[in-house]
């Protein structure tokens, strides 16, 4: 069974882009539109990997990561941040919230795939 990834991004085009790129590389993809939706979907789909944006309405990526990490069943689930931001303090914040890694947008499909396999083989 191929690995299941939940992508959380408020931009539909970004979600589609992720889905297109990653499903070609053998991953199954589910999507959510913001942090609140993402947290709901985590319970529903129980993914092998969470990829989340940072700047989103309702609940941002940092809050989502903290909320997910607070749940015992997701303690070891890898979480990647996919954001156009790249400042040290943002990355540090994501890290302390419980993120596994950070990918800077824009991304190249193959690089993204490699990054994903780095945490979700």
């Amino acid at each position: 069974m191929s690995k299941l990834i939940l992508t959380v991004d408020d931009s539909a085009s970004m979600r589609m882009l992720l889905k297109t790129s990653l499903s070609q590389q053998g991953f199954r993809i589910e999507g959510a539109t913001d942090g609140v939706h993402g947290l709901e979907r985590m319970h529903e789909v129980n993914p092998d990997l969470l990829i989340t944006d940072i700047n989103m309405p309702r609940m941002d990526g940092f809050e989502l990561i903290e909320a997910v990490r607070a749940l015992p069943q997701f303690r070891g689930t890898p979480i990647l941040v996919l954001s156009t931001e790249f400042s040290d303090d943002k990355k540090a914040r994501a890290r302390s919230a419980g993120a596994t890694g950070w990918i800077t947008k824009p991304f190249e499909a193959t690089k993204l795939g490699a990054a994903v396999r780095r945490v979700c083989p």
């Binding site: 993809i29 979907r41 947008k105």
Partner: protein, 732 residues
Amino acid sequence: MSDELDEIQAIFFEECAEGLVTAEQGLSAMAGGDVSADVIAGVFRAVHSIKGGAGAFGHAALTAFSHRFENVLDEVRAGRIAPTPGVTAVMLTAFDILSDHVEASKGTAPAPADAAALAALDEVLATGGAGTPAAPVAAATPVIEAADDFGFTPVTAVIDDLDPFGFEPIGVMLEDLDPQPAEAPSEVAGWTVRFAPSRSALANGGEPLLVVREVEHLGGSVVDIDCSALPPLRDLDPEESYMVWTLSAPATLPQADIAECFDFVSPDSIIEITRAEPPADTDLELAPSSAAAAPDPGHAAPEPTSATTAFSPNRAPEPEVLALAVVPKSDTPRAAEPAAQTIRVDLTKLDMLLNLVGELVIRNSILTDRLSPKEQQRVELPELARLTREIQDNVMSLRAQPIKQAFSRVPRMLRDLSVETGKLVLLETTGESTEVDKGVIEKIGDPLTHMIRNAVDHGIESPDDRAAVGKPREGTIRLSAEQKSARIFVRVSDDGRGIDRARVRAKAVEKGIIPADAVLSNEEIDQLICAPGFSTAESISNISGRGVGMDVVRSNVEALGGRVEISSVPGQGTTFTMILPLTLAILDGMVVRLAGQRYVLPLATVVESVKPEPGQVRPMSRTTEVIELRGNYLPVRRLGDLFGFGGKGRAPEDSLVIIVESEAGHVGLMVDTIEDRREVVIKSLDQNLHPIRGLGGATILGDGSIALILDVEALVGSSASAPQHSLKGLAA
């Protein structure tokens, strides 16, 4: 595959449009004094999203500009730059340029000149952020800046680009700064990688072993595993990491590729990547905190913890970013919709659904016509009819979109107009969440533009004139939308000088639109503004006053099956109201009968119907007739003649004359009888037949028979060679 990407890109541009609306509303709110954190965050997020998508689709100029814009917004969001009116004004200008950049990225407009806006943004960044140095953006040269803006620079600029990226400590030894992989690989030793994950490397979903595998995947291999730190089993914490790997990697592999494998490793891990020069020299170097302090043999930093980083420090500047224009491999054709709370549907599918529902409505009314009330009850027809109506409403709501899309261009237009005219204008908008059919929204853009221009140009007075009559120096334009039953009312009102009826009247006489002795009510005079060729502008301005303004409004709105109302109070202002149908698929029609056939006249065009007295309709020439109506003479057309039925129709006194409103003024259409007034579902003829002049479409009536829908504008237009596109107004 490229279709798929085009499709995603099209969605990206829709998101851009939405983002621009959000940004504009936020900036307008800020300009109006609302500088709450939510508003600022909303603007930031909108611009940020545009940047993100633009990068993904390789729109370098849009990415670069939105990045610079975002820098300022970020400072404002963080409270380091105060959103003063001056700063907000700069951002509004930047917003305009951003909109232009979006258009340019779509290929619908040339790239905007953004130097001034960028300079203004940089100025804000340099002077507004007292605590922040201006350097990050302002001081760099354009080329380096571009690299700063995520590296949209040519591949060959790699080395130059790397330097400005000292923004993050690089945890690996960049011994080889030369990105061109070794000119003579055979002479260069392979890489040795020492990888000592921190104890906590397994936390948060980290897995050092995957990193090792990735290096292996690149052609590397494990040389040694140091298990000396491994405690006895009973002391071992399975969630901690104890191993130290030594790996070798091929010499031809760029160092950055190896380093990238370690992107996500927890920050206090030790990662050393060195050229394994002489095989004997296995003393490995530890990473100092930056690339600059690289390859000095013997310069060992024993405590590299703070120097290592997990979060991909050296990804951004690499040439890979250039290639990011998303070129997924083309081997998997499946395009997948994102699982989300919304779903995007091809408009043609929606229209097909709407069409089918239309059929259902028609079948329903056929059944209602054919069955007796008792039979209707027996087969539960009323329930079916109710369900059908509900389905119809629902399907129509699928095509409905908030009218704010049509309103979104207004603020910018007002700013431009304000600059052009020197008039000060405030905008108040209400009801922008009112939902209207997409087709209607697309078609009211032009009329709205003309109405706003007209209001600024002719309505609002100059600040001094306003002050002189005791009004605030700023004029106000109120833009509103509301739904009343099946109609949408879009109003543009100003608090300007109102319509100068004496001048309008004089002008109309001068232009020959009305006779000098015509007796007109105030309302009729106001309506003259919409007459073709009317313009009262004393000097032809850039803005309106070209005499094509308000009559365009009227004809566009009427083509949609709507109408325009004007009300004005001298000295207090003018209100233009567009009254529009909720949908283009259903028409409020008058069913008329002629020579045994039934036709549908759009009710919006009908002014009145007249049962002529003998002699009231009289011939003017062999081919033309007029009807005398309250002292006026209106041309009368016999529908039978227009459709070439020929022969002698009924006598006028046995017929009805329907007075319709058209661009050519009021015209009488002679028909046999009026049969009904009903809503009809418009079926396009164009797919099946050549466009037929005078026919806007067809519909199926309750008894199953077909009735043609008349296009009044085309019917009464005098020139036979008049363009036929007006037919589309009905059938769209």
